[in-house]
């Protein structure tokens, strides 16, 4: 499903959460929506899901989403804990809502996932642990099989084995049923291998939209003799440096050209990739008190 956002603004009183944002997603990929706390991720996703009337334009496959039944049917957003569940409802009832109200709902798969995440069907949502509530959100998101599925920090509170089970389930379900999935997360490295394209936002504005592999190629870690590293990195954008004895490691942002690569070889420097997380931190780092 294609997503087009044009001049989107979301305000809460005097606070602007999303500020005149525009971008397009071609669809059928797993997108990572990255941003610091308060950067506007949840507000952006809420507007994409028709949870609030947008100022600006939000279109799914060319159709406006807000109060458009045909477009709304294609979307599922799960924020933190499940929106699609009342805390007084039993888990089994929550799945019944999905089965009754969503044409694309896959109930056998929903039951399979509740078993995988060990969510008791007879328990009320309000009695579940934070991790179980998060897992229930993931169940609703994945079992909805919506052409646009958005998971907003849905794995918050899950323990590590459950998170890994979620990543496996997400990938295998995406392979079997390709669709547009947007995931917002702070656990960037854990999810990095799943993300095909990244949308990085900060202070309600779009910072960067890039294929994950292209973004990775923009950063390089250079390790070697401290003097050689200093000489090589002179004039480059250095994100951070670490020294141990006479050995130094520096992370630089920006693609190295052929002459740079030759020079690094001449100096005996080792070149390696930078973690997405480090690039994200750099791209959203406050500069002079402002980002």
């Amino acid at each position: 499903m294609r997503v087009d956002v044009q001049g989107l603004t979301v305000r809460y009183g005097s606070v602007t959460a999303v500020d005149d944002m525009s971008f397009s997603l071609s669809g059928n990929k797993i997108y990572g929506l990255l941003g610091r706390n308060g950067s506007g991720k949840t507000s952006l996703m809420s507007a994409l899901a028709g949870y609030r009337r947008p100022i600006g334009s939000v279109q799914l496959d060319g159709e406006p989403v807000f109060e458009n039944a045909a477009a709304m049917r294609q979307v599922c957003l799960v924020r933190h804990a499940a929106d699609a569940a009342d805390k007084g409802d039993k888990v089994a009832h929550v799945l019944e809502y999905g089965a009754a109200w969503r044409d694309t709902w896959d109930n056998p798969y929903a039951l399979e996932l509740t078993e995988l995440f060990k969510i008791p069907l007879k328990k009320k949502v309000g009695e579940l642990s934070l991790g179980q509530r998060s897992a229930l959100g993931v169940v609703i998101g994945l079992a909805s099989r919506s052409p646009l599925t958005m998971l907003d920090e849905s794995h918050l509170g899950m323990d590590t084995p459950t998170r890994y089970a979620f990543y496996d389930a997400l990938l295998s379900d995406f392979m079997a049923h390709p669709r547009t999935i947007i995931i917002s997360t702070h656990l960037i490295e854990e999810l990095a291998s799943l993300l095909e394209e990244l949308v990085i936002i900060d202070s309600g504005r779009l910072v960067l939209q890039e294929e994950a592999d292209v973004l990775r190629s923009r950063g390089t870690e250079i390790t070697g003799n401290a003097a050689d590293v200093d000489e090589f990195t002179a004039g480059l954008t250095v994100l951070s440096e670490k020294s141990l004895g006479r050995t130094k490691s520096a992370m630089v942002f920006g693609q190295l050209d052929d002459s740079g690569l030759v020079r690094a070889r001449q100096l005996g420097l080792e070149l390696g990739p930078i973690a997405l997380q480090d690039l994200f931190v750099h791209l959203t780092e406050p500069v002079g008190g402002k980002r």
């Binding site: 949840t42 809420s46 028709g50 949870y51 609030r52 009337r53 109060e67 458009n68 039944a69 709304m72 049917r73 294609q74 979307v75 599922c76 957003l77 799960v78 924020r79 933190h80 804990a81 499940a82 929106d83 699609a84 569940a85 009342d86 805390k87 809502y97 999905g98 009754a100 109200w101 969503r102 949502v125 309000g126 509530r133 609703i140 909805s144 919506s146």
Partner: protein, 219 residues
Amino acid sequence: MKIFRHLTTTLVLYGAIVAACVFLAVLAAEFTLSVFADIVFSGWMLVTVQIARWFVLWVGVYAIHNVLPIAIAHGRTRREFLGAATGFSVVFALAMALLAWLGFLVEGGVYDLMDWRSHPYGSVLAYFLMFLVWCGVGMLLAAAFGRWGYGAALVLPFGLALAVVPGITMPGTGDLPFIRNAPTLLGDGWHLVSLGAWAVAMVATWAIARDLPVRVRST
């Protein structure tokens, strides 16, 4: 239709269970009271006009505050939900009115048997309209508070004004006795005013809820 079916089956059933439990509790209270004093009024009337309407108002609030966000999260529009909720308010009010009437029927039999006295109570139509308006006002207030937060306190007098309309002619409510003359002059025509109050409540609910945002909730 799916939303209407869900609202109706779950909440009408819930309302019926609550009504049955309360009815048994009222009967038990009446028998207990009869040991110490003469029974001269209907306990069921007290419950149906004073407590039941607050329950119906709560159901209206619940539908908008709890079920509407769930419907949107499952890909339904506000318009679809409000259409279903409007139909639901009619069916729910009718079901509650019939339950009230059924209660009077059973209680009347018990009173005859025990030779207890009671006051006249409202018609099924009067109960239906009272529940209908209170359900609508519940939806209106939930929509207003959901959209404007505490600012919706300004809507409270409007909601209250609508809510008192059907109770004016209802025995046992004691709503605004100083304007009792107007309904008397209108006779059964006052029911049309009640119907109008419900229509106003639903139109206002639609107008407010069409832009209602789904806020992040802690579950």
